[in-house]
């Protein structure tokens, strides 16, 4: 009886211990590489790890041999107290020096050189240019168009497509009020509302910048990672050779939302990519038309709620209570309840419009991130919800005018 129970427990333990090994083979090394750079990095990493592992094992073996053989408890006597001559000492100490010299600068140094040159070659043979902008705490993607080579190769030109990519994990899971939910399509903390879409096989030159603090755009399966520096353009490149969805995260501490700005990339075959570009361009035309029409308050409130919860709630909270003193409350605040426009229809300094468009200190300048309709909607929402009831409405046309 007892024996059987023990057997069961043992079997259970065995399963428990081996299950993670079987399920998660990739976790012992880099995930599967899908770009030439990631493939190269994996090879370099494996080779170097092997080298250092061999050094470690050999040195450890010598040391352990000594620890076993040369101990007082088994009666080993220390060899006579005789200092070696300087020449002998130089000879012996030069051996490890030379071994490492060869390993560092020949065995490791030469492949490392080629990897660096390949990694930094962002322009040659590139097919298209993509601008990635980091902001607290979201990524913005802008397609800058094809290079000559890209157009010659028949890649559809996505120039003009521009969108913001936000974490799509629901806020109540993020703040810990409900437990994390994970699905293969939408893993916890690793999914976004608008994914970056790239054509398979095209070399994409990526220009990287930021609107506020440092961010780092990183997809482990791409092998590239580059700092986004406000006020500067940095470059990297990717060439995704396999269709699929790839996920990564911001890798530079960028404030309280650092853990919540994932990167999700859909790599599509060229035809599907062309279809996506057409769809996206159509959407942009519709939006442009929407910006010129007169919106009802209900329409604005509806869209404003969506925009608010996606972009603003992380600091100002879904209720509008904020997290004072760093992130002020919007409920009853002077800015959200005072007049926006002067008699001539120009927005006032420090008004609600000024703050949302241009930001101040930690508050980002949203004019770079949201379109006219979104800004009009979110201002209207903030003034007529979250415990406020100012009653006025801001139209997209007014935002468009305010941008000038």
């Amino acid at each position: 009886m007892l024996k059987q129970a023990m057997k069961k427990i043992g079997f259970g333990l065995f399963l428990l211990l081996t299950a993670p090994l079987a399920l998660a083979e990739y976790r012992w090394n880099f995930p599967e590489p899908v770009t030439p750079m990631a493939l190269d990095t994996l090879h370099v990493h494996n080779k170097f790890m092997l080298i250092v592992a061999v050094i470690f094992v050999v040195v450890l073996a010598i040391m352990i041999y000594s620890l076993i053989k040369h101990r007082k408890s088994i009666g080993h006597q220390a060899v006579a107290d005789k200092a070696p001559s300087t020449a002998t000492e130089i000879f012996w100490t030069l051996i490890p020096f030379v071994i490492l010299l060869v390993i560092d600068f020949v065995i490791m140094g030469i492949p490392a050189y080629h990897s660096v040159v390949m990694m930094e070659d962002t322009r040659n043979e590139s097919d298209m240019v993509l601008k990635v902008t980091g902001s607290q705490w979201r990524w913005q993607y802008e397609y800058m168009g094809n290079t000559d080579k890209g157009s010659q190769d028949g890649l559809v030109d996505a120039k003009g497509i521009k969108f913001v990519s936000n974490l799509s994990t629901p806020q109540n899971q993020v703040d810990g009020t409900t437990p994390p939910v994970d699905t293969p399509d939408s893993p916890y903390l690793l999914d976004v509302d608008n994914r970056l879409v790239l054509p398979v096989g095209a070399k994409v030159r990526i220009l990287m910048t930021s609107t506020d603090v440092l961010h780092n755009w990183w997809v482990p399966q791409f092998g590239s990672s580059r700092l986004a520096v406000p006020g500067f353009i940095r470059e990297t490149w990717v060439q995704v050779d396999k269709a699929g969805t790839y996920r990564g995260q911001c890798k530079e501490l960028c404030g309280k939302g650092h853990g919540y700005m994932p990167v999700v990339v859909d790599a599509l075959p060229k035809e599907e990519y062309a279809a996506w570009v057409a769809l996206k361009k159509n959407e942009i035309n519709e939006q442009a038309a929407g910006a010129d029409k007169e919106w009802t308050k209900d329409e604005l409130m509806e869209q404003g709620k969506v925009v608010y919860e996606k972009n603003c709630a992380v600091c100002h909270m879904a209720s509008g209570a904020g997290l004072p003193p760093a992130f002020p409350a919007l409920t009853g605040s002077k800015i959200t309840t005072s007049q926006i426009f002067d008699a001539d229809g120009k927005y006032l300094p420090d008004s609600h419009m000024d703050r949302v468009l241009n930001g101040v200190r930690v508050m980002p300048a949203w004019k770079a991130l949201l379109n006219d309709t979104e800004i009009a909607a979110v201002i209207t929402y903030e003034r007529n919800a979250l415990g406020n009831s100012v009653g006025d409405v801001v139209q997209p046309a007014q935002v468009k005018a305010a941008r000038q």
């Binding site: 990739y26 100490t93 893993p187 520096v229």
Partner: protein, 530 residues
């Protein structure tokens, strides 16, 4: 002063008693004791902070703290462990042991020494006070930028950043004062016959450390001052809108930050051969080779800084230079490892606690060093950078390579300092618990990094859950095992088996010629070295 009063001085130590003794003391042993005590307390404070982090990371989802508080804990943990635990521990040993090892009656500048110590408690308070102020609704807590202060995030930050800047200023002044004192002492107060090339390795390690501190601390002080003026006085050193560059801060910071690694490690590299020769009962191998390696590492450490931000977008020639120069550090380190192992080779080894810690140290620091060699590769670094791989790597160098080396030193010299033997069984238990739980904490973090978990995130995707759980459990075992260490130290200070003057069978050097504990004023008669 007549000879009779000098002779009399030893028995009649006329110093104030009680609290005034410790406030006003200029005695190197008292100051050393204060440094070591301060370091131990701050080690526990910094450790409890990280246990808070590990508790939060025990499973996915936010359970205990908000992301902002999480960011405060990681940054302050690092600053405390580096500036308030590891550096004061090394300075404490310098105060205690350098005069004893070189046959000097005290440090050269005793009042400066006192001031150097008493700058530390205020700076520790400055670092942690914002936590308390936030409880009373003042400010929004401590520094939340990580210990590296990177702008523009640090320019956005609250009063915690200002507190941390002033704390760093005070800590920097304290370190520079300590370094001046050590350099002056080593240059002027060696016993007759002790040439530089006869100085104990620990003194050598500290001499290089002191030069590095004097060379690099002013750069850090300058960088954080520029940050302060950017924050409050309208300058634009690190703001592109005003013609500045945020990356310039990283250059300045790591010009200090990389030598800082060796500042923390060189004193420990001084302990290692001394402990090895004692417990191998055989003189250390390659004294000269080790001294020259120290110099080489000291010189290389100030020319490799940019490997901390390979992904920031440096030009190709710069990337190649910093990659190859970083790899070059492995050459003198290989010589050091060789000398350490050759010292053990064909000795007559016994494994008391200091020796256990030293052997464990060599293995674990070896892992830290070898992973560092891999990190130097620019292409692979794009993957390792700011992932948990780096977190694991630098804990192998700074916890294993730093703290465990300090622990070896504590067990080695505690009988000399207190006159009592520590509890050997508890010491060995402490070693095994520390070594095993340390590895179980950080080995999973290597794999987390490879799988793609960035550092400094308060919550993570479910694919990282198992390794984080193992790491958190082991971290708590690691943290709690340190209580054995604290208990062992306190009970050794209070009593225990009397230690002999030589303490260890194979111990050699001037400090072992004195009584255990040494008299309050040692070497009132100058020893000579043959």
């Amino acid at each position: 002063m007549s000879t009779t009063t000098v002779a009399h001085h030893d028995e009649h130590t006329d110093h104030p008693t009680g609290i005034m003794r410790w406030l006003t003391t200029t005695n190197h042993k008292d100051i050393g004791t204060m440094y070591l005590t301060f370091s131990l307390i701050m080690f526990l404070v910094g450790g409890s902070m990280i246990l808070g982090i590990r508790a939060e990371l025990f499973q996915p989802g936010l359970q205990l703290m908000n992301p902002d508080f999480f960011n405060q804990l990681i940054g302050v943990h690092a600053l405390i462990m580096i500036f308030a635990a590891l550096m004061p521990a090394a300075t404490g040993f310098a105060n205690w042991m350098i005069p004893l090892q070189i046959g000097a009656p005290d440090m050269a500048l005793p009042r400066l020494n006192n001031w150097g110590f008493w700058l530390l408690p205020p700076s520790a308070i400055l670092l942690t006070l914002p936590f308390a102020l936030a409880l009373f609704g003042i400010g929004d807590g401590a520094l939340a930028t990580g210990w590296t202060f990177y702008p523009p995030l640090s320019i956005q930050g609250g009063i915690g950043v200002d507190f941390a800047i002033f704390a760093v200023h005070l800590l920097g002044i304290s370190s520079v004062l300590g370094s001046i004192n050590i350099i002056v002492t080593l240059f002027n107060m060696r016993a007759p016959g002790m040439t530089f090339m006869k100085m104990p390795m620990f003194a050598w390690g500290w001499l290089i450390t002191a030069f590095l501190l004097i060379a690099t601390i002013p750069v850090l002080a300058g960088a954080v001052t520029m940050l302060l003026t950017d924050r409050h006085f309208g300058t634009h050193f690190f703001d592109a809108a005003g013609g500045g560059d945020p990356i310039m801060f990283q250059h300045l910071f790591w010009f200090f930050g990389h030598p800082e690694v060796y500042i923390l490690l060189l004193p420990v590299w001084g302990f290692i051969p001394q402990i090895l020769q004692t417990f191998s009962r055989k003189p250390m191998y390659g004294y000269k080779a080790q001294v020259y390696s120290f110099w080489a590492i000291g010189a290389l450490s100030v020319v490799v800084w940019a490997h901390h931000f390979f992904t920031a977008g440096l030009p190709v020639p710069a990337l190649l230079y910093f990659m190859y120069s970083t790899m070059a550090i492995s050459l003198p380190l290989a010589v050091l490892f060789f000398c350490w192992i050759k010292t053990m080779w064909r000795g007559s080894m016994s494994f008391e606690t200091p020796m256990l810690f030293t052997v464990g140290w060599i293995i674990l620091f070896g892992i830290g060093g070898l992973t560092g060699l891999v990190l130097a590769d620019v292409a692979a670094d794009a993957q390792y950078h700011n992932s948990y791989f780096v977190v694991a790597h630098f804990h192998y160098t700074l916890f294993a390579g730093g703290i465990m080396g300090i622990m070896a030193g504590v067990y080695y010299w505690l009988p000399k300092m207190t006159g009592h033997m520590y509890n050997e069984k508890l010491g060995q238990l402490h070693f095994w618990l520390t070594a095993i739980s340390f590895n179980l904490t950080f080995i999973p973090q290597f794999f987390l990094g490879l799988a793609g978990m960035p550092r400094r995130i308060p919550d993570y995707a479910l694919q990282f859950a198992e390794f984080n759980m193992i790491s958190s459990i082991a971290a708590f075992v690691l943290g709690l095992s340190q209580l054995i260490f604290v208990y062992n130290i306190i009970s050794t200070v209070r009593g225990g088996k009397k230690a002999t003057d030589q303490v260890w069978e194979g111990a050699e050097g001037l400090e072992w010629t004195l009584s255990s504990p040494p008299p309050y004023h040692s070497f009132s008669e100058q020893p000579t070295v043959k």
